[in-house]
């Protein structure tokens, strides 16, 4: 499975790591829903560090889409809620009018 950490690129992770990530993702989801800043930061840090240490970075010239995308490692719960709510990404992502 391919996971992207925003601002850091993509990593290939195996099934064991993916299972651990799914558990952390539930914590992230609950923290966003309940607006728990500390819990969000803890879960995000754990997820980011798991991917960084257990994942293998994709080659820079490999063009692939990620199955999962983690927010920026220092993202706040507000920032992520905003991204999820309006679903917009600045700039034209593939350069089409």
């Amino acid at each position: 499975m391919i996971v992207r950490i925003l601002g850091e690129g993509q990593f290939r992770v195996d099934d064991d790591v993916a299972a651990k990530l799914t558990a952390l993702d539930k914590d992230l989801d609950a923290a966003v829903r309940d607006d728990q800043s500390a819990a969000f930061t803890a879960a995000l840090r754990a997820a980011v560090s798991l991917v960084r240490t257990s994942g293998a970075p994709l080659a820079a010239d490999e063009i692939a889409t990620a199955d999962y995308i983690l927010p920026f490692s220092d993202a706040t719960v507000d920032e992520v809620r905003k991204l999820l709510a309006d679903g917009t990404i600045p700039g034209d992502s593939i350069g089409l009018p």
Partner: protein, 265 residues
């Protein structure tokens, strides 16, 4: 639903919307490539902007450090002259300046980290854009419009995700540097106007004026002693200078010999 999945769907939806608008997908390959190259320029400019902010914070840290040292010297000076009240005022100033310094230190570290991450991101995008260019030429040469669709979708979605990521990263960097520039501007003004000294309390001018008054008598004596010392110290130097003078022509004489040797080759 999962946060990670939802974020990835947001990225994919953006690519899908763009792909839906295409008529002949192959025609859009070159256009998209051009946009990718522009994005590369943007991210490189972003790196430069963050570096400029970082350097500015560094200069301010140097200025603040000088002020901190000055307060420290004043406090010692005042204590030496038995004015604990002045020493206390100077140290209070120093403590406030130090707190501003550590705030700048945090900003500096954050800018440095952002600069490093953006640099790596720009290298990654560069590699992906080159890979995209190769792939688009293959697609245009090998496949019909209908066949090309799937391959183009893959390439577009992948590059779109990277561009979206970098777009967000640049926006974050711009937001952060804008915030820091506003704060840095305020500190620059304070340092330039000297208001920082008054602003942090303790009235520095008063401390310095008092110290100057106390030090005036002693200062004159010290100046005299220093000047006497300088005169005494310069006397042996002149002798040394005279002693060294005859050596110079000897060196000059040696040069033409070297040149002649060089010309001979």
């Amino acid at each position: 639903m999962s946060v990670m999945k939802r974020v990835s769907l947001i990225f994919r939806a953006k690519a899908d919307r763009a792909l839906d608008r295409m008529e002949d997908p192959r025609e859009t390959l070159d256009y998209s490539y051009k946009q990718q190259v522009e994005m590369l320029t943007r991210v490189r400019r972003g790196v430069a902007d963050v570096a400029t902010s970082r350097k500015r914070v560094e200069l301010q840290m140097n200025s603040l450090q000088k002020e901190i040292n000055r307060r420290d010297t004043q406090a010692r000076d005042a204590l030496g002259k038995g004015r604990e009240d002045l020493a206390r005022a100077a140290l209070q100033n120093k403590a406030q300046l130090q707190s501003q310094y550590s705030d700048l230190e945090t900003q500096f570290a954050s800018l440095q980290e952002q600069e490093e991450k953006l640099t790596v991101a720009s290298q990654r995008l560069d590699a992906k854009v080159q890979a995209f260019r190769t792939r688009k030429e293959t697609i245009k040469a090998t496949y019909t419009a209908a066949e090309a669709q799937t391959r183009i979708n893959e390439a577009f979605s992948g590059i779109s995700e990277e561009m979206g990521d970098i777009g967000l990263a640049i926006q974050r960097a711009e937001d952060k540097t804008a915030q820091m520039q506003a704060r840095a501007g305020a500190i620059d003004e304070l340092l330039a106007s000297g208001a920082l000294e008054d602003h942090v309390g303790g009235n520095q001018d008063y401390i310095q004026a008092e110290l100057d008054k106390l030090g005036a008598g002693a200062g004159i004596e010290a100046d005299l002693a220093r000047m006497k010392g300088e005169i005494a110290a310069s006397a042996p130097k002149q002798i040394e200078g005279n002693g060294a003078a005859p050596a110079a022509p000897a060196e000059q004489e040696a040069e033409p010999a070297d040149q002649q040797a060089g010309d001979g080759l």
